[in-house]
Symmetry: C2
Subunit: 471 residues, 2 copies
């Protein structure tokens, strides 16, 4: 390491104090672990500032010495966005305070390192709802959720992470602090600067705090699993559900037969709620805005004619919180269960909701042509057009040989998605994993605008270099 770099890292250690840094080695495991095992992370130092001011001072030194900064939050991302080649990992996990909750204004102000579940819990204690909800919520942190514009299971009703932000604080690539921590529902004072940092995966600055919207807590919820013949019927049911029940529909998740089989096979206690097997299942959740609203009646209004017409084959409605949790566990255990079936080639795609059945038909045919015995496990958020199109290896196949075809299969699927006007990264972001896809699929004009923003806001290319776009 160059002597000036060593000196800079020593200065950084002095700024954050002995509890504020971790050297590479055993203690660094939580910071260099990479969720999917695709990358090795090799930072020279892991820095854990305790305040925004410390973040700013650290960044200023890195800017001076051109030291790369890889911002890190809960380190639960799936695209290698928090992986460092060199320089420092800057973790916000010590900045985990809830700064303020204003129930009348229905807002919560938090530091970037707050764990998502802690924010949900604080809202709940105040009789309110913070609707961002995803599998990693017990360990992911809000700074990362905002930096990746996280999605999850309630986007249908409440939007993505971006839609839940009123105010933001960020440290810029030159170490200045931008304080945009306003709690206003309307504010048209010039360019909306917070949008630059949301979804930018830490490549334009580091999010250090946020003011988030809270919502009235639903007065009641009802959850049901509905069995049917195909995704086409699932789409038809979705359209009817929105028509009849409007924004009462807070989740509408698709589970294919194969996923149900995987979950029941590998997840202790999980069981198929139906006696007969069906090709496609929908997990639907309705929420009541006010007391006295009968969700059971509303659900029957949807299901009775659908059953009569043969649009759906069977349905079970949860009649207790335990049953609701069991149904949700079937959905939320799919990724875990799939790990037990060997290698899987994953896609996080979206298309217009109306195109989902066509996409599944065409993508399935392409994959089956390439790998005839591949097992397609396509599940996810129908209402958002967001399908996790994951392909498990053929039974008994060699895992490494199967995974060696990752790029080839991605190409088939992503070519089709883009051809259908869809996205090759619906909710997980770009990170390191999809930088090549960006260069292949995003238009020259858009890429040029992104590179221009990157060059302008991070001229030394120190903020999470190598992620999203190469300069």
């Amino acid at each position: 390491m160059a002597p000036t770099k060593t000196a800079a890292l020593d200065t950084i250690k002095a700024i954050v104090g002995p509890r504020g840094w971790v050297a590479p080695g055993d203690d660094a495991a939580p910071f260099v672990r990479e969720e999917r095992g695709l990358y090795t992370s090799t930072p020279e130092l892991i820095v854990l500032p305790a305040t925004t001011e410390e973040v700013a001072r650290v960044v200023a030194i890195c800017a001076e010495e051109a030291i790369a900064i890889t911002p890190q939050s809960g380190n639960t991302g799936l695209v290698g966005g928090a992986v460092a080649e060199d320089g420092i990992v800057l973790s916000t996990r010590r900045m985990d305070a809830i700064l303020d909750l204003n129930a009348q204004n229905a807002t919560i102000s938090v530091q970037a390192g707050c764990i998502l579940a802690d924010i949900q819990a604080a809202a709940q204690r105040a009789g309110l709802l913070f609707p961002l909800s995803l599998a990693a919520e017990g360990s992911c942190r809000i700074g990362g959720n905002l930096s990746t514009n996280a999605g999850g299971v309630q986007v249908l009703r409440y939007g993505n992470a971006r839609d839940l932000v009123l105010g933001l604080e960020a440290v810029l690539a030159d170490g200045r602090i931008w304080n945009g921590m306003t709690a206003l529902r309307k504010d048209n004072t010039g360019y909306d600067l917070k949008q630059l940092f949301i979804g930018a995966e830490g490549t334009l600055g580091i999010i250090t705090g946020a003011v988030l919207k809270l919502f009235p807590a639903p007065k009641d919820r009802v959850c049901a699993m509905i069995a049917m013949d195909s995704p086409r019927q699932a789409l038809e049911l979705y359209v009817r559900a929105r028509e009849r029940l409007g924004d009462s529909v807070t989740a509408f998740e698709m589970i294919p037969r194969l996923a149900m089989t995987f979950v029941c096979r590998h997840i202790p206690g999980a069981r198929d709620p139906f006696i007969a097997p069906y090709p496609t299942y929908i997990l639907i959740e309705l929420s009541a805005a006010h007391v006295g609203e009968s969700l059971q009646d509303a659900l029957q209004d949807l299901l009775a004619p659908a059953l009569e017409k043969g649009l759906v084959g069977d349905a079970v409605v949860a009649v207790s919180e335990a049953q609701t949790q069991n149904l949700w566990r079937l959905r939320e255990s799919i990724s875990e269960a799939q790990k037990h079936e060997g290698g899987s080639i994953k896609h996080d795609i979206s298309v217009a909701v109306s195109h989902i059945p066509e996409f599944l038909d065409r993508a399935g045919a392409l994959v089956k042509k390439a790998i005839p015995d591949a097992r397609i496990c396509a599940f996810g958020h129908i209402g958002d057009g967001n399908i996790h199109f994951n392909i498990s290896q053929p039974e008994g196949a060699d895992k490494d040989e199967f995974l060696s075809r990752w790029g080839e299969i991605n190409r088939l699927v992503h070519d089709l998605v883009v051809d259908m006007g869809g996205s090759f990264s619906a909710e997980h972001g770009i990170g390191k994993l999809k930088v090549g896809e960006m260069e292949r699929y995003v238009s020259d004009v858009a890429l040029d605008m992104m590179r221009t923003l990157k060059r302008t806001l991070d001229p030394k290319n120190i903020m999470n270099p190598g992620k999203i776009v190469r300069p």
Copy 2:
């Protein structure tokens, strides 16, 4: 005019053809009219392209010759954002096609010149809702609504214009077309470029098309006018309404006694629905997500205890569409009625919802100290924290003398708003009117970031120069 400029304008005329331009003069009135009569607009040519490609070719020529472009949509803005000092006004009003409506995906694709009411009507014909709603909806156009991130009366439930956009097309300051017309509810492929243009008032590029979100149409609506003693009680009622009725509350608008008086005095057919006068009125609207939901019962659940506790004094619930329209007309006629009472000094401010009563107390005291007989008519969107704090001249006072104190009164009110963490431009934008306020109140870091964006994306300063930020 310089010969090269004359030649450039001739080339522009040739590009758009004889129906595509208007010379300054009588026919130019709709394009140079300025809503509040604060500014004179003096473009050298008004250009009305018919296609995005024509817009792009016109902008390319202007970029070459450094000719200023003032983009214009419905020309209904209130801050002089569409006023030209020289160069061309580029109106998108000939680009008013609805390109596509996808009911299953609940999206509508439109050209920038579509009139807002036409989009609402198209959605309604498909059994869906486009919720952006504001007084100018019969003549404002969506490109302007998006460029100013318009607000309106349903922000409480559906968000600002920004929140309603999925995809966007824009012509950049160098004449390139950026096509981001995707219809995806989740798309995390790099920086969210559309956010740069939404709310930028045409200073970074020209919005030429958009893909907008549609919502399930409410199955029922109920509207009531509620009379009470003060804004403090209105806030308390608002918090209870959100607690008990959640997102069923789709509008919550405050009308002060003075506004009721003005409206009943000046608007033909308008009448106070109550026998006794009250200091403060709330117009509340509830919407039903599904059939069979009893909004009347829900409203009674809110009102009965509030009446019993003395929180509210009286209430009338509309029992017909005609009554609903009459109640809404009282709210929507305030600005018109106020014109009949002489000059008025206006503020479009927002604070945290919880701060509204304190703001009204303190701002009222400041104004009364400066102009003891000023008549304060503060109305608007309580649920958004957005108050139109408008001050009518004292009865019998000289209008010009009163209006000469505009700057002084703005200063008092805006100093207070900013001190309370609020915004001096909640929904109308900056335009020419508030460029000075931007420089006074926005932090150096934020202003510097905005100027950097402007310089980077519009290096020749041809896109709506003099609006939002000076370079």
